[in-house]
Amino acid sequence: MKLTLKIWRQKNPKAKGNFETYKMDDVSPKMAFLEMLDSLNKKLVEEDKDPVAFDHDCREGICGSCGMYINGHPHGPVPAITTCHLSMRYFKEGDTIWVEPWRAKPFPVIKDLIVDRNAFDKIQIAGGFISINAGAAPEANSILVQKNKSDDAFDAAICIACGACVAACKNASAMLFVSAKISQFALLPQGRVEAVDRARAMVEKMDEVGFGNCSNTGACEAECPKEIKLVNIARLFREYYKAY
């Protein structure tokens, strides 16, 4: 396949940055998107140019680091996958692909496509944990949990903190992420103990680091690679109201 890439290049956080155009002549539809970028980088290195910086680690959809905004979609046009799972077969001969970093004030660009997602860590540190060492897993029947609740908690817990929800949201709101991190505890008896403090602290931190306000557009749900649902946001609201 022949493709044209328009990739955001930015030397450092302070640099202005601009789009560079790269022509790719022999992209195999069997390649993963990141492999395609690897092959571009190989070429750039051979030409003694600076390779495109992009974040990646597991390349199997669990670390959440490979976020990039591809043709108007976080993680590309295919629903429910991360960029590392995106295959080139979803693109056509002659396509132009725009690749941009996440855009949000709390996610400043470090270099090219890599953004600093430390704002998420700050929210987590504010309350996204249980503050005692709970030891090993307890005997299964000692704390009974309703099956549907544990399922919902698990569905929330699979959020990989990739930031696609923020990237997709027209308001750069982090509500889906925070709602997942709150829900994974709120639904379980172990998490209830600190539910009030958690809701207060995490929402306060979310506002403090400068994310936008949710206006229920649902873009986050549509783009989340882990299919975290809007019901979690409604639960976050309830948890927050209950906390006051």
Binding site: K6, F19, Y69, N71, G72, H73, P74, P77, W98, E100, R103, A104, K105, P106, A168, K170, N171, A172, S173, M175, R200, V203, E204, M206, D207, G210, F211, G212, N213, C214, S215, N216, T217, G218, A219, A222, E223, L230, V231, I233, A234, R235, L236, F237, R238, Y240, Y241, Y244
Partner: protein, 214 residues
């Protein structure tokens, strides 16, 4: 305390509650307006007089005006913060699948606001005595206005956009209150659609009949 009162969630809640109040007011307004269709002015003028003088309604009027002002100012505040949260935008247009009308709330809201200003000059400010006119005969005033084609164009455009605004507003308010349910939420969406179509259609029906049929 300020952090709580002005947290993103509280602001959203305030928006939703003020909006919900406005959602209940609109049908009342529509019912009164329907009396404009009668050939004699008394029923409408009597209703308007009642609305202007009955003490309980006068209290509600204060609540209504506050709700409007709060809804507008909080909406603006939220929107400005949201714009600031993304100082550098994307080059490729956002293609995420969202509820369509949710993307333009600030603009549909702004159009409704422009209409509201016009509306206040034509009626509400006359009642308050800010603008000259006869507060006891809004029937003739309305009939006069609806004979002007330009007024109808503005009216119909604004009510169409109001419908867009109301559709997202209606079910969004429930989500903000924390009410999202597997069975009920889809039903709320259907009711939102019916409300957002019927209500502006009602107002539009009155304007068009006074314009073209009388």
């Amino acid at each position: 305390m300020n952090k709580v009162l002005f947290s993103s969630i509280t602001k959203k809640l305030v928006m939703a509650l003020a909006g919900l109040f406005l959602l209940t007011f609109l049908p009342v307004h529509l019912i009164i307006n329907l009396m404009l269709l009668k050939s004699e002015p008394e029923p409408f003028n009597k209703a308007a007089h009642f609305m202007a003088t009955f003490p309980l309604i006068k209290i509600m009027e204060v609540v209504l005006i506050s709700a409007i002002l709060i809804h507008i100012s909080w909406g603006l505040l939220l929107q400005i913060q949201n714009w600031l949260a993304r100082p550098i935008g994307y080059v490729s247009a956002n293609k995420s699948e969202t509820s369509f009308f949710s993307r333009f709330m600030i603009w549909t809201g702004a159009t409704v606001l422009i209409f509201l200003v016009l509306h206040f000059f034509n009626f509400f400010f006359i009642k308050l005595g800010f603008v000259p006119g006869n507060p006891e005969d809004f029937y003739s005033a309305a009939h006069y206005l609806f004979k002007i084609p330009a007024y109808n164009y503005i009216y119909l455009t604004c009510f169409t956009l109001l419908g867009f605004h109301l559709y997202h507003a209606f079910y969004s308010a429930f989500q903000t209150l924390g009410l999202n349910h597997r069975i009920w939420s889809p039903i709320v969406k259907v009711i939102a659609l019916i409300y957002a179509v019927l209500l502006p259609a009602g107002f539009a029906f009155i304007s068009v009949s006074l314009w073209l049929l009388r």
